[in-house]
Every structure is written in structure tokens, then in C-alpha cells.
Symmetry: C2
Subunit: 204 residues, 2 copies
């Protein structure tokens, strides 16, 4: 969960070691004190760099937050893809996707609440990382549906984009950081029940 | 949206005229100043009764809030039932239910934001009104499914309670006051797309 970068909103020399050091130190600081309440000055003081030096590498506090958020969400993506990899059918792949997406988001929420809050800021303020993650989820959904249609497992009458979008809407309350916090009491039952409903809707 | 009462958490003489006057005045006050920030003392001052006199009729501020919340939600129930009444099939009844439930909640949110906030308190603090409304929504869903099963319009293999619960979960983000506020940008597309997905899942 460290090295990746969105490569956006950064400036100055491409010294990845120092960039990574700043991100790493900022992540530790945010984990303790939260993202919203920390200023770049606080951060500079805490990690022992000057504010000007940090600005050599990052446009803004958000640019640092985006890298941290990207790393967290990328971690979930890797887990979801690995959970799906061994499934033998599109239906099973779909169930695993839903279950592991929810598990990943819930884990971030419970284990790393302060990092989760960065993901919530990302969603609230429509950062590029949030938009990219949403696009990735939609792509995974579409790929599974396409696979099930090709194998004859799923119906083919409904336009693919309509099906994908509707399924995304069903999943959203359990993966979107601003919604998930209201739905934590449903995490045991919802992925199973909703996967079954969606799979019934996909049957030929 | 006036006369109804939950008949709970009230005390003192059953003088409905005065009870109704207090509720009516409290509703006007909450509409202007909000429920959360108002104390029973503020309310007493504003409506010209003594605090002790208000406590003759209501246990607490929440007891007044419950009546106001009940009236708002009951208004939505009446509209939903009237929208469903003319539908010729269970599918059409389902679509109308979803659409009018969402429209009613959204209207409360946009036209009477301060009253909507009472519904949000009700959901957050698990008042009886919120629980009753949830039960009513689940009952309406179950009734429509049962009707569609009886007429042969819907499949009958899945246990009825599992189907109802899953459908309730799909609707929830658009009717639950704490979730709806995050989903307002989806209100044009979501009820149609999700109704279609649900109806596909119900097909025999």
C-alpha cells in the first residue's frame, strides 16, 4: 500500500524517494490526527520538512491525500481481483466481487478509520481518485456481465449499460464511503441477499 | 398532515384540541428554527404556553417530534397508496410504489427541509415512527410481491421474506432520510433503472 502514485497535481523534480517519504510520513500523521484537521503547516512541522519543500513535490494537501487514497483503494482493487480470479462461473465471480468489495471497504472503515475519512473526503469533494475508483467498479461489473452473457449464463435482452448501471446502484450503498457508514449493520446480510437478487435479474 | 397522533409517550388529560395546538405550533416553530436546536423551553416561550403545561401533554420534545414525523410520513403513505391504487398489474403497482415513495421523500427533503431533519433524527435515534414507517414499506413490498405471485406474474421459488428483504435493501438508499441526502443526484434515473432490475429478478 505504499509506492503507487496518481502522478497528478505534483510539481518539482521527480524525486520519487522524497515524494514517497512525504506520502509515508503524511499517512502516519493523518492516521493519528485525521486528514481534514491537518494543514500543510502542521504536516511540515510534524514530518520535519519545510512547508516550501513539501510544496516542491505536491500542489496541495489534497494532492498528498489523493496519493494516500489511491493506495488504499488500489489495495481493495487488488484484493477483489484476487478473490474473483479463482471463480469458475460468472455468477460466482459476481458474488465474490460483491463480497470482497464490501469486505475491503468495511475493513478500511474499521481498521483505518482516519484513512477511510480521506476516502470520504475524496468522495465528497469528487477527487480524481474517487472518480477513478467508481469507473473501476463499473468496469469490473460490466466485464462480469459480458462474460456471463458470452457463456449463456446471463440474459442478453437488456442493454448492457443499463444492466451495469442498475447493478452499480445496488452495490453503491455498501462501497461508497459516505453511504457505507450508515449501512454497517447490514454488511452481514446485504451482499448475499443482494447478489442473489441481482443474479435472479440476470438469469436468461 | 395535522390531526394524527402516535398516542405514545403522552401524559395528562386527553385534551386533543390543546395537544393539536401544541403540535401545530411546534411544527411551525421547527419549520423555522429546526428540531435539533430547539429546547422545550424555547418552544414554550415561542408558542406562549408554560414549559410545565407542555409537559402535561408530552413526555419530551421527542414525543412532539414523533407526532410531527408521523404526520409527515403518513402523508407519504397516503400518496403512495393512492398512486398504486389505479395500477392494473403487480409490476406496474411496484413501479408506482417505488416512484411515489422516492418522490414523497424527495419532496419532504426539498420543500420542508426542517421537517425532513425531524425524520432524519427519527431514523438516527430509532424512534417508533421510523420503525413503523420501515415496517409499512416492507409490508407494501411484500403485498405487491404476493399479488404478483398469485397472478402468476412473478416467480415463486425464492422464499417470500428473502425476496422482500432484498428489495427493501435496494429501495432503502432512496427513502431512508440519512441515505437519501447523498443520493439526490440519482433520483431521476434510479427508481426506473432499479425497478426494471427488480422486476427482471421477479420474473418467473
Amino acid at each position: 500500500m505504499n509506492a503507487a502514485s496518481t502522478d497528478s497535481s505534483t510539481r518539482g523534480p521527480l524525486d520519487h524517494t522524497i515524494r514517497d517519504q512525504i506520502v509515508e510520513a503524511a499517512e502516519q500523521h493523518f492516521k493519528l490526527y485525521g486528514y481534514e484537521k491537518t494543514t500543510v503547516s502542521d504536516l511540515a512541522k510534524a514530518i520535519g520538512f519545510s512547508k516550501a519543500y513539501i510544496y516542491k513535490f505536491f500542489d496541495s494537501k489534497q494532492a498528498i491525500g489523493e496519493v494516500i487514497c489511491f493506495n488504499c483503494l488500489h489495495g481493495i482493487e487488488v484484493e477483489v481481483e484476487s478473490a474473483m480470479a479463482e471463480a469458475k462461473t460468472a455468477s460466482e465471480r459476481f458474488r465474490r466481487m460483491f463480497r470482497s468489495l464490501v469486505a475491503g471497504s468495511a475493513k478500511l472503515f474499521s481498521d483505518e478509520r482516519k484513512l477511510y475519512d480521506i476516502a470520504a473526503s475524496s468522495a465528497r469533494e469528487r477527487w480524481r481518485t474517487a472518480a477513478d475508483y467508481e469507473m473501476w467498479v463499473k468496469k469490473v461489473i460490466t466485464d462480469v456481465i459480458r462474460e456471463g452473457r458470452d457463456s449463456g449464463e446471463f440474459e442478453r435482452k437488456t442493454p448492457l449499460d443499463e444492466t451495469s448501471q442498475a447493478i452499480y446502484l445496488v452495490l453503491m450503498p455498501y462501497i461508497h464511503p459516505l453511504l457505507l457508514q450508515h449501512n454497517l449493520h447490514l454488511l452481514d446480510e446485504a451482499p448475499g441477499h443482494l447478489s442473489s437478487l441481482i443474479l435472479r435479474s440476470l438469469s436468461p
